[in-house]
Symmetry: C2
Subunit: 397 residues, 2 copies
């Protein structure tokens, strides 16, 4: 018999996916260039030239049996060493290869992190608004994802609600900064206060509360913004990183888990990840992608376009009267909708070929997300549609 829980999931359609499908279908009618599709968070800039060159070099000069051979289950040793060295240099934390586990993107890294520190029934806390895939990621491990209501003023942490929910059953806290969907970066004050509370509660409850830090947007930080390293604030941090956004290669499924060297259990956690892999069929990310990425650790794709787009949108939104926290990074912005029902708001926007995602999807009704990883030229053209939409739908005159 087929397993019911997976069958049941088939009926629940992702709102983002549905909106993206609408955009594609509408594109067939009026030309996709005329659909202002802000639905999907897919990188829109090319992979760095150096990555492609390195891939071609590996393919044309290395012995193919060695090149395409099995990676050790924790990842290729030199790759793990290179990542540890790069992290140490940048964040001044003494990472060694023993703390690095290669994973298939952030999704793969999180799958291992959750299984490291939670048994079925244990709770993981995260903060609204949040990436909606966190629900299936956590729920299907048997752990329980609980969501702390949003700090709607600044999209930092609503600490009062957090402390209420931080019961003895919580084994891990999951954060994402720079954040999808808000684009906000957690401040030093936020991270310090979070760490203080976690230390205090770990002691009070007599068990470690791990901080799982989902960092796929770490390299997309805008000028003048201070983006502190989460692991510097709290030793029991499990960093989950992906190269998808920084190198613009989300399809190649490459990332890693980096366990803080002073983490409680740091000596066994990466080896435990190797065991977890056996149960979920991961093994390791593709060998050639591991090798190629390890040679371009200090590079990123040309990410400037995201900041350009953000500035254009932020200014236009504010001028139109939107309340909006200015993003510090990512390629998302999360303004308050012009009516309480953000689903209705986004529905109406579709008539102007503006594809926006209601905040309900992210656990923050009343807001909407725009993913501005699209051409700047299109952002510019969309502003007129945005103005018409607001004027014709919400002006009081």
């Amino acid at each position: 018999m087929l397993v019911q829980k997976y069958k049941d999931m088939l009926s629940g359609k992702s709102v983002i996916r549905q909106l993206s499908e609408f955009a594609t279908a509408r594109g067939r009618e009026i030309g996709y260039e005329n659909v202002f599709d802000y639905s999907l968070g897919n990188p829109s800039v090319p992979v760095p030239r150096e990555f492609t060159d390195e891939m071609v070099r590996l393919l044309t000069t290395e012995d193919s049996v060695a090149l395409h051979g099995y990676s050790p289950s924790l990842g290729i040793t030199e790759v793990r060493e290179a990542i540890a060295a790069s992290l140490e240099k940048r964040f001044h934390i003494p990472y060694r290869k023993e703390h690095i586990f290669m994973a298939s993107g952030a999704a793969g890294a999180l799958a291992h992190a959750f299984r490291l520190v939670t048994e079925p029934g244990d709770e993981i806390l995260t903060f609204a608004p949040f990436f909606p895939e966190y629900h299936p990621y956590v729920d299907l491990t048997g752990a329980v994802l609980k969501v702390v209501p949003p700090d709607v003023e600044h999209f930092q942490i609503h600490f009062e609600s957090f402390q209420e929910l931080l019961t003895e059953k919580v084994m891990a806290v999951l954060i994402n900064t720079p954040n999808n969907p808000t684009g906000v970066v957690y401040s030093r004050e936020t991270l310090q206060r979070l760490a203080d509370i976690l230390r205090q509660k770990s002691e009070e409850y007599g068990h470690d509360i791990y901080l799982i830090s989902d960092e796929p947007y770490r390299e997309i930080v805008f000028e003048g913004v201070d983006a502190p390293c989460v692991s510097q604030f709290y030793e029991n941090t499990i960093m989950c990183y992906s190269f998808s956004k920084s190198l613009s290669l989300p399809g190649e499924r490459i990332g890693y888990v980096a366990v803080h060297p002073s983490c409680n259990g740091a000596d066994v956690m990466v080896n435990m990840c190797g065991q977890i892999s056996r149960g979920i069929g991961h093994n390791c990310p593709p060998s050639i992608i591991q090798l190629a990425v390890s040679r371009v650790l200090e590079r990123t794709a040309d990410l400037k376009v995201y900041e350009t787009n953000m500035q254009l949108l932020y200014q236009a939104l504010v001028e139109l009267g939107f309340t909006c926290v200015k993003p510090g990074g990512t390629f998302y912005i999360f303004p308050r909708a012009l009516e309480a029902d953000s689903r209705a708001f986004c529905e109406k926007a579709l008539q102007y070929d503006l594809v926006l995602v209601p905040g309900d999807t992210f656990g923050a009704p009343g807001f909407f997300r725009m993913a501005y990883c699209i051409d700047t030229e299109k952002v510019e053209r969309s502003l007129e549609a945005l103005r018409r939409f607001v004027r014709e739908t919400y002006s009081r005159g």
Copy 2:
């Protein structure tokens, strides 16, 4: 707190891994070319030229944003279509893309198959001797792997034992033909009888018993051997395929699940795999590897060396008095050891720098495995060591 079950697994060291490490260490002493390392099942022939050419073509001519972009969660549509068409042409079963789910090698495919049809506590049956990773693969899903004792005469199926173990709790039967570790191919009679029993018991128990067919060695079949397609015998078959061995790229993690089009649930099973992926952090195999593999579906690496090696070994073993079922494919052979304790036998062989794996590891004590995916020249040189080992250790004179 760290999860105990994964921590506990750290102490259990794989025998194959230990032997492989011994071989590497011994190689440092006497030169690896002088260690007759038959421990590991790693392909030893180059990837087909066409694969490398296609990779380079994709990297140098395709738009990088599209090339490295997210694959749909079930796999890239054209890739799934190409695989379905290739399977249909070859096996005359009307596969369509709806039946194909792209997975990260056979391990990834199996991880999805097990979760499709078993809940924690359900039983999966497999047949000794078997690939030892089946234990963690199954155990960590919460299902229970039960092992049918071997048919030591032919390494087909011991049907009497099978029927005893095929209780109402069994939701799936897992087979691997051509087989690791025996190299034996299941005959038409075996597969027909297996299918008949599964149909009868499915009806008797009032629930489907799925056949999970692990087929990474499908393309490595020796001359004149009839290797029947498992899916042709039983509709409720979930085929788990990997390109690791056929194309010699185990590190690139690419394979698929192919659900029989007449399988009970065929309309939803691939979509269910997409949901399972969310829980185990898979998403999909790397985009570029999917694309490159889809252009070389009818190719394999030059696999002839494995047959050459098998013939050399089989003949030498028989001449030395070993009892041995002749392999029909793979790069394994599984002779009976010359003493009842195959661990002791393999231990003694190490003195001749012959690295053999005791059958205990595969659920068949008294035998040993040789993985002859090594250079023919080394196989030839190993025969003298094998003769000396047998003569000096087991001759009665």
